[in-house]
């Protein structure tokens, strides 16, 4: 089951350099939180269909790191690095996410988990250092998704008058 927040994003000081994704997951909060805490869980769902992850190091604690690569359906390998800055079970996880530990373009993400009926509402709030870096990340992930049957392809198809 999935629900959405209606309307356009509210305007805040960081509105032009953030991305918010929220989603209701049909499972209790403890279980949803658990899926973020161990690599054996994360590898089962991280990334869109067809993506796989390979972990070099994983230590789920504040200051700990997840050093991994993500491989797309076309075989492209992307370096990924995450370091946790806050872990409050089962309600909140914050981390810095980039390509490596010395990535100057790393960005901060805060995940919050709230009970929503029998399910759990996840809100993922990512703030980039600048608007340009947000747009760059959007472009990068757009490239990551290249070739997949997504709504992006649908939009391209429609926009081209096909």
């Amino acid at each position: 089951m999935s629900t959405t927040e209606h309307g356009t994003p509210t305007t805040t000081a960081t509105a032009d350099r953030e991305v918010v994704v929220s989603r209701t997951i049909d499972a209790p909060r403890e279980r949803v939180f658990e899926a973020f805490t161990e690599v054996r869980h994360l590898t089962q769902w991280w990334g869109p269909d067809g993506f796989t992850t390979t972990t070099r190091a994983f230590e789920f604690r504040v200051g700990g790191e997840w050093d991994f690569t993500m491989r797309g359906p076309d075989g492209t390998v992307y370096p990924e690095w995450i370091s946790w800055t806050e872990i409050t079970a089962p309600e909140r996880i914050a981390f810095v996410h980039g390509e490596s530990a010395d990535d100057a373009k790393a960005f901060e993400t805060v995940l919050t988990f709230a009970p929503d009926g029998a399910g759990t509402r996840i809100r993922m709030h990512t703030v980039f250092p600048t608007r340009e870096q947000r747009d760059e990340a959007v472009e990068k992930y757009h490239a990551i998704e290249g070739g997949q049957q997504t709504l992006g392809n649908l939009a391209a198809y429609v926009a081209s008058g096909g």
Binding site: R23, A27, A35, G47, E145, L151, G152, V158
Partner: protein, 104 residues
Amino acid sequence: MFNAIAEPQRREILALLRTGERPVTELAQELGLTQPGASKHLRVLREVGLVRDRKEGKHRVYGLDARGLRPVHEWSGGFAQFWNESFDRLDAYVQDLEQQHQEE
């Protein structure tokens, strides 16, 4: 806008409309939704400019609105879409996980 397409059934509606305009009754039937349910999704999609409607005889038909889809192209193929698709997989995975815990 991006929240409007985070909902899987609304994405399915957009995918169906790709093949051409359809009345709400047909969309509801294809997706196994009630007609008010389908109408509600269409209203959200229309409000954000992804879907337009017009009268055809006695009926109203819905189609894609290419103007609204341009910004979605920039966004949904990117970061937000990456996470929407990851959360689709997370949803399926934690339900399995919960099942396992209950069986233990």
